[in-house]
Symmetry: C2
Subunit: 335 residues, 2 copies
């Protein structure tokens, strides 16, 4: 790989053998409801804590993806997963259930594509086969940890986003039919000095633009290469900032192919969602549900998913730090 | 890779171009003090919070490793790091300073070898060069987050371990002189039902034994292959349990080559350390300081580092969960 480059090209193009998306009640009311494999009617999901509900979604999504691929649990060679909870307990405890070699990741909401990028590297380099990659978030578990318990009814500004309750998983293999992962660009931290945790989209937009710019530069391509470029969870505010930054940098990314998973997952007038969806589960469920389904229907052939992550913690916020942001991009093709 | 196997063999044997170990006042009083590149006289390290001190150690260790290898920051292609703080802020904020593509990891105290394993995969598969891998922990930052602020003076049982204040980093390259990474075994979660966060070593010992057994099985080798097998931070209690488990499973691991970084880093009679050292920085500093130095002196030729991680969070403990544990093993050779 060339000095200064940050993009992996997967010559063997790992195959996405199957994907799964599990969601909650808000996602069931959104426009992508039909793209979920399972939708839970309430946030508890039969568990006695929101954290256990989050873990359950990971376990379900893994099980569904394995079943859809016609595989068994013992066929899975590695599991790569991340979530927003402290010490990524949802991922780790689900890894206990899955009982396969586990690599825990943390990239905040970029974890979905961090796991897909690393999982693809493992399969592409023949270092493993049948690798499960994904991420999860749960609205109430995350609100409780990052902000306030939802029962407090704390008010939010319109720039705030609504954390998706959902898990998205992909099972990757070295052969078989399905969309193929062709490249991945690993992001650098971009921090523009924003410290408002109710404006994550605005904070993350420059990181998304930085990674997309690097992706085009490393591969010598332009936005024309893709039918769809979807950022992870910039929401309405961040999406507009990203579009402005493209113009400012003289990068042509046509509005009709540039979208955001956080804008897609909820209706515009859905109550409480404010500027759109967010959370690890946002890009994970939209990509491994809706977008992969559209590829399989022949509606999309080449997509670039740019999962964005705000790498703050409640403590770093209390210590008056700004928010370091990152974005990892993965290109998927299906003809 | 064979079905059921969990070991990566690195045919190109990535080179450890340089390493760095940064420590604190307790480490300065330990028997390995001379193997640290920098030792801080107090836990604040000139910062106004323990969390910022933890981050500073990562930044220092990266800088030292880069300098020792005769490289520049801009030569570094990827940075892989993990720590114990919520949302791995020490790693992420150091990644902002380093300004290179970043992959955030979380494997608790197994993060040191998780990063070395994945970094070696990146270099071995020619997906990157000059990759920095490592992990960090800070005694007071970790105590405050996982247990009580140290100022409370909470009492501890003798099975408790003392979190190492230290950062260990390695700079990996595809050529050059230095110890070589030859293989890595990615661990599965092992949970024997222990829920006492003051007996981490006991909880993690079965995971270490599971990974070492898998490593021997996958490569068709025995303990004779190594001059030294060092677990991460089992401490006195866990080390004895691991030795017992080897006997029980009929696995011969001679006592004279089997040790633990948590037993090495402090003197046996050093105050407060109880059953030994722990934390992400324990295996990271002992490996990337002392052990690599011994290899360079010709005292050791083939070592297996088995970093162990207890994947609990304060919340999972409060919810009465047991502790899922994991261990990742990396083999390093130098002739």
């Amino acid at each position: 790989m060339l000095q200064g480059h940050q993009t992996w090209v997967f010559n063997n193009k790992p195959t996405i053998l199957a994907t799964a998306a599990v969601g909650g009640p808000y996602e069931a009311e959104g426009p992508l409801a039909e793209d979920f494999d399972t939708l839970h009617g309430d946030l508890w999901m039969g568990q006695d804590s929101y954290e256990k509900a989050e873990r359950k979604m990971v376990e379900e999504a893994c099980e569904i993806a394995i079943r859809k691929a016609g595989k068994q649990k013992q066929d899975v060679q590695f599991f790569l997963c991340g979530d927003l909870l402290n010490q990524i307990i949802s991922s780790s405890f689900a890894a206990r259930t899955l009982a396969v070699p586990f690599l825990g990741l943390y990239g905040a909401c970029s974890s979905s594509m961090e796991s897909l990028a690393l999982g693809s590297l493992i399969v592409d380099s023949k270092s493993g086969n049948n690798v499960i990659c994904g991420a999860v978030s749960h609205n109430a578990a995350v609100e409780k940890q990052f902000r306030y318990p939802t029962e407090y009814g704390a008010q939010k500004p319109p720039t705030a986003q609504w954390t998706v309750t959902g898990a998205g998983m992909a099972l990757l293999g070295d052969k078989g039919d399905g969309p193929r992962v062709t490249s991945a660009t690993i992001g650098k931290i971009v921090d523009m000095g924003i410290s408002d945790p109710y404006n994550m989209g605005g904070a993350m937009a420059p990181a998304a633009v930085d990674t997309i710019t690097a992706h085009f530069r490393d591969l010598g391509i332009s936005a024309q290469n893709y039918d769809l470029i979807a950022t992870g969870d910039l929401g309405r505010v961040g999406h507009n900032i990203a579009a402005d930054l493209f113009k400012k940098h003289g990068l042509v990314v046509p509005a009709e192919i540039f979208t955001d998973c956080g804008l897609m997952i909820y209706k515009k007038d859905q109550p409480n969602v404010f500027a759109g969806g967010s959370g690890c589960g946002c890009s994970a469920t939209v990509t491994f549900g809706h977008i992969i389904n559209r590829m399989k229907k022949g509606e999309l052939h080449k997509v670039l998913i740019v999962a964005t992550g705000a790498l703050l913690s409640p403590l770093s916020y209390q210590q008056k730090e700004s928010i370091p942001c990152i974005a990892h991009a993965v290109a998927i093709e299906y003809n």
